[in-house]
Symmetry: C2
Subunit: 204 residues, 2 copies
DNA sequence: GTCTATACCCAGATAGAC
DNA sequence: GTCTATCTGGGTATAGAC
């Protein structure tokens, strides 16, 4: 069975190295602006050899999206396992913007910028890229549900997603680290207020 | 003197038609994904004739950014002239997302998506594109200053800009009109609270 | 100012030797 | 699995006739 990840204990396959480097380059330069030659050079492969691993550029994109999907899911699972309360879990999401601050300032949000680019290209892989957003949306909605906000869970999740997207876009445009911290503080306060309002309406 | 706009009363120049159509295509398809041939076809010009008006693709981009700058400035001036209070003016900005809802859902924010793309390309025109953001930022900050929030004016302006960027990104990804309305309502409430808090701290 | 023709380059993609 | 060589298309850009 052809797995998308290398077997346990084996050295990293050429295919995996291609996908890993393509992931980075797509993030830094954008999908369209990254050529086969760029990826081949990064992996130290000849262009011809490339087609042994991927028949077309779109195939690499699919593999990159699948890689991001797996890593995103793993990260969300980790947050859910490590943080004991919904508020702590949502805080993990918010803090991600500080953790990845320097990359966000340079290249924006990996999910948002990819979806925006693929939308302009009317690329067939767009739905799969959008699925990365859905992963976050559903995970956040679950946390708000556990907070007791069943009816507004999805609305709150979308609100938080939108806030984080806006922060990434402007942090990138203005290359502004202080702005990220400012908005993260604002979001943490919003989260606190949201959680408190929930307790109040439930009579705690 | 070579003006960037056609003289009063004269028919629209070929140059202006090129810039107008390029503006649309860059918005809908992205800058890199739009070719000379695409623009030439839209204007009904031969490719060769193109270079009579613009020596290079980057020159068209500069002209498009300048066009957007002028139109943005004119719009902000109009809002400032028509709306009597700072709150009414900021509301105009917020309502823009409803007015342009269908375009935003299809192509995102014209400013945000252009800046994001040019950042990935490390394009020399990026600072000029970012200036479009600055136009909004300074105009909004002025409104918050007039509201009495002198010290937090820029922070509030950036917050509002970020919120609107996030809304545009997610409305585009999920093609969701109801979401725009939801968030616009939330923003209007935030604006109301912000204005009320100002009055309270000033003893009205 | 507008056209046709064309040069030039780079990207994606293929063939086939090793 | 890796390489070199090569084809093809599309994109930017130029030359020169009308």
């Amino acid at each position: 069975m052809s797995s998308t990840s290398s077997p346990v204990g084996s050295p990293i396959s050429t295919r995996d190295r291609i996908v890993e480097l393509a992931d980075q380059l797509f993030y830094e330069r954008g999908y369209e602006h990254t050529s086969f030659a760029d990826i081949a050079a990064a992996v130290n492969l000849s262009r011809g050899n490339f087609y042994h691993h991927f028949k077309a550029k779109d195939d690499i994109l699919d593999a990159v999206i699948e890689l991001r999907r797996q890593r995103t899911q793993a990260m969300l699972d980790r947050w859910a396992a490590e943080a004991p309360t919904p508020v702590a879990r949502i805080s993990r999401f918010i803090h991600m913007m500080v953790m990845n601050g320097s990359k966000i300032r340079r290249h924006g949000c990996p999910v948002g910028t990819l979806c925006t680019e693929l939308a302009k290209l009317e690329h067939p892989a767009l739905p799969r890229a959008n699925h990365l957003f859905i992963l976050f949306r559903q995970w956040l909605a679950r946390q708000f549900t556990e907070l007791g906000r069943t009816h507004q869970a999805d609305t709150l999740a979308m609100h938080l997603l939108a806030r984080s997207q806006g922060i990434a876009t402007l942090a990138n445009a203005f290359d502004d680290e202080a702005f990220i911290h400012q908005e993260v503080e604002s979001l943490l306060k919003w989260l606190h207020d949201t959680a408190t309002a929930t307790q109040a309406s439930q009579g705690s």
